[in-house]
Symmetry: C2
Subunit: 197 residues, 2 copies
DNA sequence: TGCAAAACATACTAACTGGTATCTTATGAG
DNA sequence: CTCATAAGATACCAGTTAGTATGTTTTGCA
């Protein structure tokens, strides 16, 4: 990687850290620059404006990260319901990237930016659609394998699952991480209900 | 109500409208004042600072509103599971206060403010604890009435229900209101599972 | 009616915001 | 080596922010 590309990626990663904790709008460009050895000139050389940086952040940092953490648990495709449970469990327990106080970066951005910025909304919608699609696919395979009840509507159930995750991430901000385990227990009983008898 | 009290309440209500749509931090005091016949002098006479106004907004506008919309459907206490379903359904369908594009005011504030402002967090935690408590209570009554399965953990299930609501409000911002009905269908199947056989 | 306090109005400030204009330095192809 | 361009640095600007200083009007009560 060229030095310039490294600078660019560095800006994005530092931005991600700050935006994750403070929100997009509350994080100023000066905030970002003051945490690293990069000046405003460099910032605006690499990005047309703050918004372009934000969109690049979704595409170049969040998306790849998401592929690694989320999609992988579902690739085995042996027992979809257990794999979905694992996926959510991993996600909630992952302390390396996520802090319960600050919730989930993707959900945070959706909450903050989707209503007022069409470009952010599009980028984030595509992100979440992909995730829902993977879960839905997993459920469909489960039905084909006769491990998931045939009456289950994969689109409907996958929406229920990912919005459950989004919700507990919000609730975690006020109730703390002990709610994660309570949530996971109840999620398990819900998922078990989807099993074919 | 005295004229002064009316002015105060008016500031709070206009603030609520704007903060609901744009967020707390993105809504400036000047924004609020420019939508009404009130000056900065009046604002800072009634509120020590922006934060005090925000906290008053939760206490004096959101809390009472919530009591009316949320608690009432559960007071009948005849068929708790149906009443819980109605409560969420009403909430999602209520177009008079809520717009799917902007989500739920309480969830929005939690998302934005809980991580960085302890006073907001406390106020909002109490708000949501109350709501969860009412749902939990309803489930407990349901168990006593033998209408809810005895194996159900009311604390756990009520958390699952309200965080599901929080989540679909976030997802609604990107996926639109047609997701509400898909969510409600799946919520129903989940709730039916809680019924005693 | 008089008048103190409550309820506002106006003008201002210091700090911060995203963004730009202009300059300097580093890099890599020929 | 050389020189065009990529990459980065610095100083600045116009607009916006929460909050204040200082004034005026309105209100309720003796």
């Amino acid at each position: 990687m060229s030095k310039a590309a490294a600078t660019r990626l560095n800006i994005l990663k530092k931005s991600f850290d700050l935006i994750y904790k403070k929100g997009y709008q509350a994080t100023s460009i000066d905030d970002i620059l003051s945490t690293m050895e990069v000046t405003k000139g460099a910032f605006f050389y690499h990005f047309k404006n703050k918004e372009e940086m934000g969109l690049a952040l979704i595409r170049e940092v969040m998306r790849p990260e998401m592929r690694d953490i989320l999609f992988q648990p579902l690739t085995r495709a042996e027992d979809p319901l257990s794999e979905i449970y694992e996926m959510i469990g991993n996600l909630l327990q992952d302390q390396s990237f996520f802090d319960f106080r600050y919730g989930c970066p993707a959900i945070n951005l959706i909450q903050e930016m989707a209503p007022t910025n069409e470009d952010f909304k599009k980028e984030l919608t595509s992100l979440m659609k992909d995730w829902q699609g993977v879960v839905k696919n997993s459920l469909e395979k489960g039905i084909a394998m006769n491990k998931v009840h045939a009456g289950v509507d994969p689109a409907q159930a996958s929406l229920f699952i990912i919005s459950g995750y989004a919700g507990i991430r919000s609730m975690g901000k006020i109730f703390g991480p002990q709610m994660y385990s309570a949530y996971l227990k109840e999620l398990k009983t819900y998922l078990d209900q989807l099993r074919s008898a």
